[in-house]
Each structure stands twice: as C-alpha cells, then as structure tokens.
Symmetry: C2
Subunit: 129 residues, 2 copies
DNA sequence: GTCGTAATGATAACCATTATCACTATCATG
DNA sequence: CATGATAGTGATAATGGTTATCATTACGAC
C-alpha cells in the first residue's frame, strides 16, 4: 500500500469508529450511506491493504471474513449461533498453552484463531423463559 | 438421514480408512478412482448427512470444509502454511479454560474450533537449511 | 406389485471473493 | 506546467466452493 487514499481512509475511519466486526458488503453500504460511495472491489482491496499494514484486524468465519479495529489487544471470539452476537475474550494462559502445544509438535507458530460457538447471555435467557 | 446408501457407505468407509482431512472434491475423486463413481452433489449431501449423525467430523477452514473420522477423541489442529500439513493436538487444560472463559461471559458453549497456523517441523528444518 | 418418499446426479444458481481492464489520481522530474 | 510512470479505482467478468432444482432411481412398508 503506497497510498492511503480517501477511500482507504474512509474504510479505516469507519472501522476505527466502532467495535463492530464488519464484512466487505457492510463497509460498502455504510460508506454509501455516509455519502462516500465506493466500489465493492475497492472495499475488498482496501481491507486487504489495510490489514497487511496492521491497521485493521480480521477474523475468517465460515462464510465470510470480518474486519475490526487493530488498536485492541489480541483477543479471540465467541459467536452466538442464535443471534450472531460476537463476544470478545482473551485468556493469557490459553495463549501460553497454545505455544506449549505447538512446541511439543515441533511447530513454529505464526498465528492462531480460536472461535467458540454457543448461546450468548441474552439468548440463553430467552431460551429459558 | 434415513438411509445409509451405498454411496454414503462408500464415503464413510473411505474416510474411516484413513487419517486424512478430506474435502468434497478429494472424496469424489477417490471414489471415482476406486471404481465407485459418485456425483459431486451426492458427496456434499452425503458428507453433511454423515456429519449430522456424528459419523464423521469436520473442520471449517478458510476456503473449504474438510472431513475426517469421528472415532478419534476431540482434538484441534495446527496447519502448516507452507506445505499444508495438518497436525492434530489436544490439550485438556485449554479445553477447561475455554469453558471457564465462556462461563465468565455468560456464554453457553456448544462447540469451538481452535486452529493454529505456522510451519511444521519438516518445513522449519527446510527453512533453516 | 404399488405407493410414498429418500436419495441420486446432472446442472443451474448462489455468493463471497478475486481478476481484468480501461480510466483516474498522485507524485516525481525536466 | 507538461509529461510520464504507476498506484488505485470501479464496473464487471470470472472463479470456486457450496447449495438448490428437478427429473429419475432406489428402498421400504403395506
Ligand atoms: Mn474482535
Ligand atoms: Mn483432525
Ligand atoms: Zn445471542
Ligand atoms: Zn509444512
């Protein structure tokens, strides 16, 4: 990425201004709504470029990739399979034990992704009622 | 799944006879090679049906879903980003801590997927050489 | 055997993502 | 300025894994 164009700046600002996990289409629609229309291909390229520079983070879900602010500490995600809510969490010991597990297999870790599925607090209450 | 048809039995036998993590296309090709041609749509449906009955397991990777035998204890995966090798591991403490992390957020866990990325033993040696 | 229905398989459709390509914006240099 | 050189844009085609459609076939119950 040689140029942080207005389009890419708009993507970055949008993501930095929220705690959401955005997919490409949501980003495009939000920018259109904000009066800054942008081509969907540009969104995809912009997201990839911004991520490669560490300006945003992403999680690869089953169907699509979602992007979020990079100025948060590393964390993993719990996803409610009922309402789609994404809860963040971090657990230092889990991280450490992952390193240990990798070392045991002679694996040189470069990254990981832990996704937990289930029912969020709100949906669990709904099911009980 | 009301019927364990010959096609589905063939898929199940194929997967149970190996330790590989198969994608749909690999299954179809293997069965064709084994003299038991099968439609690709039937493979997809068969895999989904077998999984829903707990006869096989799956992991959802970024690009595609891969299936494996279900008669192994629960485990997670390390994937070599250089050669594609998939290493399996399990860590009881990590599992326990995941439960704890979920409980802390009021989340009722139904499943999880931990994928670690990096370089396998073999590829790490190759890089050093 | 007949009927109801699950499963098959060829193929179309779907959908997120990537590639293509003509065009535009930006920057360095003469 | 003018001129390139080239990174980026955006409309759109293409890709690839997966799912839907639908006519046909295989099973099982009666
Ligand atoms: Mn997050
Ligand atoms: Mn496995
Ligand atoms: Zn929920
Ligand atoms: Zn490797």
């Amino acid at each position: 990425m040689q140029r942080l164009t207005v389009q890419r700046q708009a993507i970055l600002d949008l993501i930095n201004a929220s705690n959401r996990h955005w997919d490409a289409d949501e980003v495009a629609r939000a920018l259109v709504d904000a009066g800054a229309p942008i081509g969907i291909a540009t969104v995809y390229r912009g997201l990839a470029a911004l991520e490669s520079f560490g300006l945003i983070d992403s999680i690869q879900l089953a169907d699509k990739k979602r992007y979020e602010r990079a100025d948060k500490a590393h964390h993993d995600h719990m996803i409610c399979t009922n309402c789609g809510h994404i809860e963040e969490f971090s657990h230092d010991t889990i991280e450490t034990l992952q390193q240990a597990a990798a070392a045991k297999k002679g694996f040189k870790l470069t990254g990981h992704q832990l996704v937990m599925f289930g029912f969020c607090k709100k949906c669990t209450q709904g099911l009980d009622a």
